[in-house]
Amino acid sequence: MSKKIGDVILDVNNISLSFGGVKALTDISFNVREHEIRAIIGPNGAGKSSMLNCINGVYTPQQGSISFKGQTFSHMDSHQVASMGIARTFQNLALFKGMSVIDNIMTGRNLRIKSNIFMQALRLGAAEREELQHREFVEHIIDFLEIQAYRKTPVGQLPYGLQKRVDLGRALAMEPKVLLLDEPMAGMNLEEKQDMSRFVLDINDEYGTTVVLIEHDMGVVMDISDRVVVLDYGKKIGDGTPNEVRSNPEVISAYLGTGH
């Protein structure tokens, strides 16, 4: 592959997270380089989503730190994370179900809207122009994700595969530096998985967005990611290119089990 992978943009250092006595993550470190597609894999309950939630500021790890673009944080705050340019999608869709596709994706522009509430309420020219600009940007995303036909449909009425796209669209509307995808292909059929893989690759390619993705489908992971972190029972057991990880004996035993 000829794409340019840059410096480390996101660096996770010795993160430990526990809920009461249950250790969800133990001393996890890994980094993500600019423009790469980084996968986090592992069996159920390995701590993949917990890891994402630490980066996203939903959980506060008891130990360790996370650096983003050179700034180090002991805990991330959801709002701050979003304004620094980290967007995410959700494993169990968290869309605004009553709102139309367009409105859902428009909410992703929220942080970029400058006009204040009074200007919006009175529909002043500047606020209107701004709204139109954002709308144009959102239309591009809708074209890109090929959901033009469903613009005005309330997302609650869309089939699952399309809802996943809207979720992705909302995250894209933030123009993120880093995109966190929590099982973007879970519950999809083969065709939908192929579409989604194509979108992820295109986003990475065309916009240079760094992607961190959790995925269960090994085929997809091995195909599209540049490097893979493997977690098992909250510990890191492998880290490297898809080929390195595939031949790592610890990873094989975690997935297939070993004869003891």
Binding site: H79, A87, D103, N104, N110, E131, M174
Partner: protein, 309 residues
Amino acid sequence: MAFFLETLLGGLMAGMLYSLVALGFVLIFKASGVFNFAQGAMVLFAALAMARFAEWIPQWTGIDSKLLANLLAFVLASAIMWAVAWLIEYLALRHLVNQEGTTLLMATLGISYFLDGLGQSLFGSNIYKIDIGMPKEPIMVFEGWLEGGMLINKEDLYAAMIAAVLVAGLTLFFQKTATGRALRAVADDHQAAQSIGIPLNRIWVIVWTVAGVVALVAGMIWGSKLGVQFSLTTVALRALPVVILGGLTSVPGAIIGGLIIGVGEKLSEVFLGPYVGGGIEIWFAYVLALVFLLFRPQGLFGEKIIDRV
């Protein structure tokens, strides 16, 4: 016929006011999942502020125009409702994020007693007048069409118009502005809203302020009809059946629920009253709410309650 229409219309007007109070409940419930027991206290608080400012402003500034004084009083009272919203968020809600609904309900119960007390110690506890210049005299309409014509209270007509404008304004604000979109987003899913950088705290202040201004308008209209007094808080109890009927999450539901209850109360009082001895108006709404709770707990327009087991 004319008498029936008059009763119907009277019911619609009364219902409009129930709708306004119910609207306050719905706004806050939608955006934060809190059943705000303090809505009634907010109505009293806002109405007291408005009544007293309208009285004080001419004294402080020597403004003669009643319209100007009322306008200033309205703006000041709105500002106070904003301050109240900010304090409630800062002192209570922010610390209760992700708590059980019951905990939040209890918190608003506390807030309601606090506001009752604070309002009366700041603004006094007598009965005050709000005089926004609403005409009191009734008018006759449809004289050519109906025998004897129809008697309409002009005041009711104005009140209904104010309420309609408010509801239209709110709908536009929610559907057509970026902030409105953010509000709807928070109402749908807190976590997702946070992930795209919508600040929950600020949204809650906005919602409680909007609910406060709605309370102010409701309090102003009731106050100008009946005077501002402690019994205004019980108006909130009248609005409770309205939200059960209309659905806790539906703005149109609050409006239509209010109208149904207003009309139902008046019609049943007038036409059934003679047979069962009257007083139906007092309990009609609650019985209707009870029936709804039994057969359609989500209300007419509310989201169906599905519990995952």
